[in-house]
Amino acid sequence: MLSYIIRRVILFIPTLIIISFLAFGISVLAPGDPVERLLNASENAGIQNKAHQASLIQKKRHELGLDLPLFYFSISTLAESNKSNLSSYQAWKNYIPVIHYYAGHNQYHHWLYNIIFRGSFGISYQTQLPVVREIKARLPWSLALSFISFLLAFGISIPIGMYAARYKGRFFDKASSLLLFLLYALPNFLVATLLLVFFANPQFLNWFPESGVQDALNFNEDWPFLTKLVHWAPYLVLPIITYTYGAIALLSRQMRAGAVEIFDNEYIKTARAKGLPEGKILWKHVFRNALMPIITLFANIFPTAFVGSIIIETIFALPGMGREIYEAILNYDYPVIVAVFTIFGFLTLVGYLVADILYAVADPRISYSKS
């Protein structure tokens, strides 16, 4: 088992490195100059004259290490690399490749070094705060929302899936299948918009607040946690519904499919012939064996909980990770984008490993040491 996990981790390292390349590449290719953005964001941008601003940009660029080359090496043409010497320009020099090697003095190396040895993902261009602190502030919202909705989804969909499989082909099965299918085909932004139109709208039902998580006028930071929770609750109802319905559809279908297969087995017939009560057969014999496909979904919980949902959090204006990423994308906040992608890749690895371990726990026949 241990050797399997170690092998799995080692195999994942190149993937993780390439994900970091990908994230880094995305941020490098992104249009717009981050330094100008940063300076515009700071208050005294408009006051200085142009020459002063240019020197300021130069300084800031140096400070952030953005004047360094991007990677360990770069490719250019011979003509480009001796640009300073214009007199020696010849057309053929455009067709000769030149490789420059920069050793450790490059942006990627510094970035990697800071993550591994300082645990730092750099400073957000947008808020000028460390990215790690940003993520720490936003993460609890996404985690809370995801875990509440995962619990709800599991709690609702396991009985639905089990009973649908038990009464296969009867009314309950058909009705629930149809309903779940309809839910499955509804995109989340549509559900979110419809919920807002019908339940947060003075013209229909004004049951829930439209967006955000708290009322700026009434909210008090010093409240005890329970009071805060009561204050937050109405804001979170619609987002949680939006988060949950899709998961319910997916989980119930998986649960039903898994349980239907188990019901066909001879040992279920034996259990019935023995006169075991139906409830015991359902939950002790079928449920435990039908759990395997559900475990696979555990692998996705970590990363999904981390990233929240871009669309749901944007629509409901929740201060979670999804909205953080969306804002970072819109504002070309590279450090945040790169950090999120890298952490995401890492969490996916953790998810796979947890699922593998759960498999081995749930089914003793699975052994990783042999292969």
Partner: protein, 443 residues
């Protein structure tokens, strides 16, 4: 294992028995019909109009000539007046006789008399032939309401149909092509089928470098220009780049086959194609597709629909590659493939004619679900305002107008219904295909 060749009929027979799937299929045909004839369903120009004793067929005439201009004689002043078809507001003319299309508005036409979220049931106005603004008659009403800038929702839905169908079809064609290509290579050749001399293997690195330099790096300007010019030029330039790239790698491979004295270089080693492609698939598996689609679409300053389709297609292809790879792995060890190899058939022939037809079933099922996903992805992008040009009316962009004002329920319900029905149709067709091709397929 079924032969797809002679069981096409059989597949259709089973598919037909699945009533929801069959109904969905007919619905899809209906949507295709709407998309093809959208200009005759929603158009601000009439089909036929009699104006100043002359017969006009504006839609057909604009069809034949985009900038058609006719002259008519003003009966009062007896002077010639120009009638430019595409900018004339036919609703304001004193027409003697007129046949409108069912929705007499175009998709991105701004109706200045009905701006600011006019509900389907609210009073609506139009400017009549005498220049007065009066309540609109039934035929000129916005039956599904308007958005903030006065665009007709029904017309937007009709024209959005063709965009949604195109996005689904084109992006999944791209995904299917790339996915099958890479999946087939990974599955068929695996890690121990292709052997080349060690020198060739080592020379691949400079080969890729040179291929990148001459194929892409120094051609970057040409490629960018082609992307701005059009689809055909883009494909042409990409093909030239791919050709240069492969040619240089091929040259390096040939050099690597030189009969050297050093046996270290001459020794044959395996090329682990499967490991490379599987790693690649794994990378895309660890990041949710929608996050990548949103991120990469936002990188491009210029918004364009073909680009969005290419991004969605490219990012969906690893999933198809994984399915194809698994099927190829399974099939390549079957006896009939070994027989084919023993008969001396070439790899290409075995892959294309003997494995591919039997490996397609899960891919086809996935494509149906993938089209549904691509439509959701595109509407999510339009909903967020990323990637799709602002003047292109899509279902997602219509729905996003509801975000600005939640009291405008018609902006959420009708486009939402359109997206929902299309996604449901494709999912049901996918289920039907799964049942007809092989119920054990899991995608």
């Amino acid at each position: 294992m079924k032969e797809t060749g002679d069981n096409g009929k059989n597949t259709w027979r089973i598919f037909r028995k699945n009533k929801p799937a069959l109904v969905s299929f007919y619905f899809l045909l209906f949507f295709v019909f709407i998309a093809l004839s959208s200009d005759f369903i929603a158009n601000k120009q009439p089909i036929y109009a009699r104006y100043r004793d002359t017969n006009f067929y504006p839609i057909f005439q604009t069809f034949a000539n985009k900038n058609r201009v006719d002259s008519t004689i003003n009966p009062v002043t007896k002077k010639f007046e120009k009638l430019q078809f595409d900018i004339t507001d036919w609703r304001e003319l004193p027409l003697q006789n007129v046949v409108w299309v069912p929705i007499p508005y175009s998709a991105s036409e701004k109706d200045k008399y009905n701006m600011g979220y006019i509900s389907p049931s609210a009073p609506q106005f139009y400017k009549n032939a005498d220049g007065q603004i009066v309540p609109a008659p039934y035929i000129l009403k916005h039956h599904l309401g308007t958005n903030n800038i006065g665009e007709d929702v029904a017309a937007g839905l009709i024209h959005g149909t063709s965009i949604a169908l195109r996005v689904g079809l084109i992006s999944m064609s791209i995904a299917g092509f790339l996915g099958i290509l890479f999946g087939a290579f990974a599955g068929y050749f695996g890690d121990n089928k292709i052997r080349i001399s060690r020198l060739s293997y080592i020379l691949l690195i400079p080969g890729i470098f040179l291929g990148y330099f001459y194929g892409i790096f120094i051609r970057i300007q040409d490629l960018k220009t082609a992307f701005h010019t059009g689809l055909l030029q883009s494909i042409g330039q990409i093909l030239i780049s791919v050709f240069i790239f492969s040619f240089l790698i091929f040259i390096c491979y040939i050099i690597g086959r030189a009969p050297l004295k050093v046996s270290f270089f001459r020794m044959k080693v395996f090329v682990p194609i499967d490991i490379f492609i599987s790693r690649f698939i794994e990378i895309f598996d660890s990041i949710p597709a929608l996050l990548l689609i949103i991120t990469i679409s936002s990188l491009f300053v210029e918004k364009s629909l073909p680009l969005v389709m290419a991004i969605i297609g490219g990012l969906m292809s690893p999933k198809i590659a994984r399915l194809t790879r698994a099927e190829f792995l399974k099939i390549r060890n079957l006896e009939y493939i070994q027989t084919a190899q023993a008969l001396g058939f070439g790899d290409w022939r075995i892959m294309l004619r003997h494995i591919l037809p039997n490996a397609l079933a899960p891919v086809i099922v996935y494509l149906a679900f993938g089209i549904a996903y691509a439509i959701i992805a595109e509407s999510s992008l339009s909903f967020l305002g990323i990637g799709v040009p602002a003047d292109t009316v899509t279902w997602g962009s219509l729905l996003s107008s509801a975000r600005a004002d939640y009291t405008a329920w018609w902006m959420a319900v009708f486009p939402g219904l359109a997206i929902f029905i299309t996604v449901a149709i494709y999912s049901l067709i996918g289920e039907g295909l799964r049942e007809a091709l092989d119920p054990r397929i899991k995608v």
